[in-house]
Subunit: 363 residues, 2 copies
């Protein structure tokens, strides 16, 4: 690639020269604009003589021509842009997913538009509308809580969409949209198995916010696996959100419940666990020694918290990558059958779980 032509030295700083257009290249190369378009577009290069293609490319290069995705998009109704909505970028499980998504899309020539919904359905709808305005070719929703209209909004707007780490409730039009999630039921089951194997019999569940599919699945998986061991939940409590603060509050409430002694708590996600640690510290209880704690996600650095968290490792990367691949495939062929991918999680045993004490520390 050569440099663009030297700038007019008299130009105001900030006032850059007008970009070369296809018409400019056409004039310089002595061919028609449509020929330039064909020569410069990799998909249509074959329609043009090798010699012409070379000459046009050289001229384009010399003039510093850059394609205008905007002009092309107006004509083709495609922006080569994909939007991704996340509930909360601060939650460490999303950056790895976003990283995987962006990397895969960039390799395919797509730009990635990111927005935070902050768990606000109204904001989510607004952002989807805005993305539609920008003519995104597809949308990845890591934010759609079951029951909100995000998915039907996408359908109305004619935007292909896939869900990441969220899925539609069973039966509620599952087939309408593809989803890539963890096998949350299986995952929480691994935690239950581990706790039971350690000897725990009185196990509580600190769940995610109600209505979120990950929370629902993990709760259900918890109950089912416990039942398979012939046990009942010692206590159940949803957190208000997947935040450290909500985890602290929920754990405090759990500890305060009368007559609900438990020796272990299976928590719906790692972020909540940080709050659980906070609440236990405040209550003078030791993690593992007094109450065993399991997390979910194996988010970065939980191997370095104290005590290191026993948790369920999910496949962040695969999640982002697969969702992006499915979206691209469905964009290319809208009749393609929808997919419901469940990635298999794995148990990571660290130091936050131990055999139970004889007397429940919390009763």
């Amino acid at each position: 690639m050569s440099l663009p032509p030297p700038r007019d030295p008299d130009a105001l700083p900030g006032a850059s020269p007008p970009r070369a257009t296809i018409a400019d290249v056409a004039r310089e190369a002595g061919v028609h604009a449509s020929t330039v378009s064909r020569a410069l577009n990799p998909a249509t290069r074959g329609m043009v003589t090798e010699a012409v293609a070379l000459r046009v490319a050289a001229v384009a290069d010399r003039l510093g021509w850059r394609p205008s995705a905007v002009a092309a998009g107006l004509r083709t109704r495609k922006s080569r842009t994909i939007g991704i909505l996340v509930p909360d970028l601060i939650n460490p499980i999303f950056p790895p997913i976003l990283h995987a998504v962006e990397t895969l899309l960039a390799a395919q020539g797509y730009a990635t538009l990111v927005a935070n919904t902050d768990n606000d359905p109204a904001r989510e709808a607004l952002l989807i509308e805005r993305m539609a305005t920008h003519l995104v070719d597809g949308l990845m929703l890591a934010s759609a809580a079951a029951g909100t209209g995000a998915i039907s909004l996408c359908a109305r707007l004619g935007i292909p969409a896939v869900l990441i780490n969220r899925r539609m409730p069973e039966g509620a039009g599952c087939a309408a949209v593809s989803a890539v999630t963890n096998d949350d039921r299986h995952g929480i089951g691994l935690a239950v198995d581990h706790l039971v194997a350690l000897g725990h019999r009185r196990i509580a569940h600190l769940g995610g916010p109600e209505g979120v599919s990950t929370a629902t699945d993990r709760l259900q998986g918890f109950r089912d696996r416990l039942a398979q061991h012939g046990l009942e939940p010692a206590a159940l409590r949803p957190a208000q959100a997947y935040t450290r603060e909500a985890g602290r509050a929920a754990m405090q409430a759990l500890l305060a419940e009368p007559g609900k002694g438990f020796t272990a708590v299976a928590v719906a996600n790692d972020m909540l666990c940080l709050g659980v640690y906070d609440a236990m510290e405040a209550a003078g209880l030791r993690v593992a020694a007094d109450i065993s704690v399991t997390g979910f996600n194996d988010m970065p650095f939980v191997d370095r918290i104290h005590p290191a968290l026993t948790t369920i490792r999910i496949q962040h990367d695969a999640m982002g990558r697969q969702a992006a691949e499915i979206l691209l495939a469905e964009m290319a062929d809208p009749t393609r059958p929808r997919q419901n991918i469940r990635l298999v999680p794995e148990l990571v045993i660290r130091a936050s779980t131990a055999p139970p004490v004889q007397e429940p520390a919390c009763r």
Copy 2:
């Protein structure tokens, strides 16, 4: 807002009805398209009679009209889109910045295009070109290593840009681009003061990758403050990158250096500290008890690692917000003087620092 017209029940799934355009609205409302444009664009609404504005709005609403940012962008050469380049989304200091940026920009009606450079200058250049293709109105660079052509590329492309958490080296055309950074020299100085106050005299520095402005500034700040205390660095070592693994490797090297006993190490960032902890554990050394460690950034959850990290808290939010504000201001007025904002960091004392032992654990 009312619903768009019901879809044709015979339409293929995925084949949504063509979106209403301004021309459609004009026909239905019995006015000319340009009038519709004026009525619907908040900036020009005043040019049109109240009655007409109302009628047009009603029709637009009924037809489910949405503006096409693409068409408008082609005409106005503005996309209402801002790009942000980050070196590594996985590094936890970036999500909060990105969150702040996206929130502020969304409130101003801008969409945010995100891309990862993975610290690769070639990739960075490519992504900037691609963003130019998408006609971004401005660019936020959290990735520009001093010396790479990113800034001059933006200038050539005529894209307003600001740096976040990075700045141009002194004298190297500082004035050309605004930057929002931490006062890194002051920040590392706080760590040095704290260690000296604890009684440390043999203090090492584990720095960031060479050529990165944060690394340069922190190194310089370390030396300067140490000199003010009448001390020499006990040892200096740059990490290859701001990663846990690079931190581990650099700490191993530091521990292996002959005759360089030190009782404390001021590390250039928290991520590196995780590796420092790893290396110390592997070497059978205790953080704080044997060697005190300070970090930089106060990234999420370092209060929960063991021992809790003494570090320098930076203003992530303010950084993203201010950078976005400056960018918007410079987009509005390109002649606006460039700004070089340095945010003031603060020392957070936790458990990774303690008075030195008499005999250096590492000599």
